[in-house]
Amino acid sequence: MIALVDCNSFYATCEQVFRPDLWGKPVVVLSNNDGCVIAANKEAKALSGIPMFEPVFKIKKQLIENKVTFFSSNYTLYGEMSQRVMNILSSFSPEVEIYSIDEAFVDVSGMKHFSMNYYGHQIKDTIFKYTGLPVGVGIAPTKVLAKLANKISKKRVSENKGVFVIDSEEKRIEALKWADISTVWGIGSKHSKRLKGIGILTAYEFTQLPGEWVRKNMTVVGLRIWNELQGKSSIEFKTMPAPKKGIGTAKSFGKKIEDLGMIQEACSSYISEVSEVLRSQKSCATYLQVFLHTNYFSDRDKQYSNSVTVTLSIPTSDTFVLISEAKKALNIIYRPGYRFKKVGVCLSGIIPNNYVQGNLFTPTPRWEKNELMHVFDKINRKYGKSTLFSGLVGTRVKEWELVKEDRSPRYTTQWKELLKLKTTKH
């Protein structure tokens, strides 16, 4: 049996754990550069007229009118809280597949002496007790069914109390009949539209289709989902997260910028961020993409956007090499006379360090630099990000960076930002 555990409105509830004044009140979290709403708790979702993924400037008035509290995203906090949840899960089973920051599959097959419903509640209650985060638990014989069970656990809360187990044929059929085909994990909008077109509205009806039809029309991927819904496990359990295929970052500037030097500094700063992530995964990148664009939403400004992808002569994770390549790339795509809104970088072709090959012209990868990067990272980990940085990043960060005003304190990782308790006279 496989359990899917996921945190309810994870980013928003992470914020609420430390803010009891916001318990039971609507809370939303905004994307990295405060561009749009990326998470909302159930109180905020219940308010009609707050669309997700809308630019904030369009809905700010509605947020304020509805007394919605909004936070800039605090990924340091969410990442640390996520780590706690995953650690707790690994005390329930040796096999945990971390699926995303707020979701994990847990293999609970070995727990033969417990009722699955009891075990599910144990998981849920322990996570809430230790971290204050509410989770939903779905338990079923396959991953796709576990996903479905998890959905049901949340939909009928009074009945299921956040835990739903598919452990009998009747329950499986009941769940399949309940599930709209578009909500099945792995069935995209294109396929669900098509299925609905031929009268397949629920997961149950989908399982009644012949296997050959599914294979022919929805490839082997569709067939796996079909099998999984029948209770036949077809998607393997991966306990190690797959290495990332690409790492990138792109943020809007605080104001529109024309100056190439300033854009280069922002770009170098993003390179520093992503190459640090790359090194922490002990990997190197083969390709570097740099892109640049003006503000699409503005009618007054002349529009321009472009991107370029550089193939690195030797895959690397060296901040300095990547910055100099990015600088060259930026020179190619930059055009004067435009007011730019955003620059972004993306590293791809990611391979483990020990697979890096030299080539005829630069035969040995420059290992001595890696030693430098190692020290660089160590210092930055100990004394805080950007204690050491490349000179090309410059010191004008304040001029281009969008200031995150509403970010909550990093309660669990910074001594200076601990939860503060003001004690007043009784």
Partner: protein
């Protein structure tokens, strides 16, 4: 700017394990007795995944031995017993109270048990 040239620098590792000379002299008699240095986490934190920190601002909890700028360690995994200090929520606000008995007064919501109070002694 002056440029110094130096011979090969040997790195000194900042480590608390007693070092043994490889070339000369007597082997360190401590080598077989080496242990890692004291780590406060071992003593103060029983359950990392359930432990949170709170900084106190103000002197009003001195009757509980909690002073201004103290750090409280809150272990949410522990179940409070009578007379334990606990962090609770009342009307949307954090409060520190002494737990009175078997069940918590209904108006309070338990946030976590205070397992340690750290204060600076000077």
């Amino acid at each position: 700017m002056e440029i110094f040239s130096s011979g090969k620098l040997s790195k000194i590792k900042n480590s608390h394990v007693s070092r043994i000379s490889k070339q000369t002299g007597f082997p360190s008699p401590a080598a077989h007795y080496a242990e890692p240095s004291i780590d406060l986490h071992d003593e103060l934190i029983a359950n990392r995944d359930a432990t949170f920190y709170v900084r106190i601002d103000g002197d009003e909890l001195s009757n509980y031995n909690i002073l201004d700028k103290d750090v409280l360690l809150i272990d949410r995994s522990l179940t409070p017993k009578k007379n334990d200090l606990v962090l609770v929520v009342l009307d949307g606000e954090f409060k520190v109270i002494r737990f009175s008995g078997a069940s918590l007064e209904t108006e309070f919501i338990l946030w976590g048990l205070i397992s340690y109070i750290i204060h600076y002694a000077r």
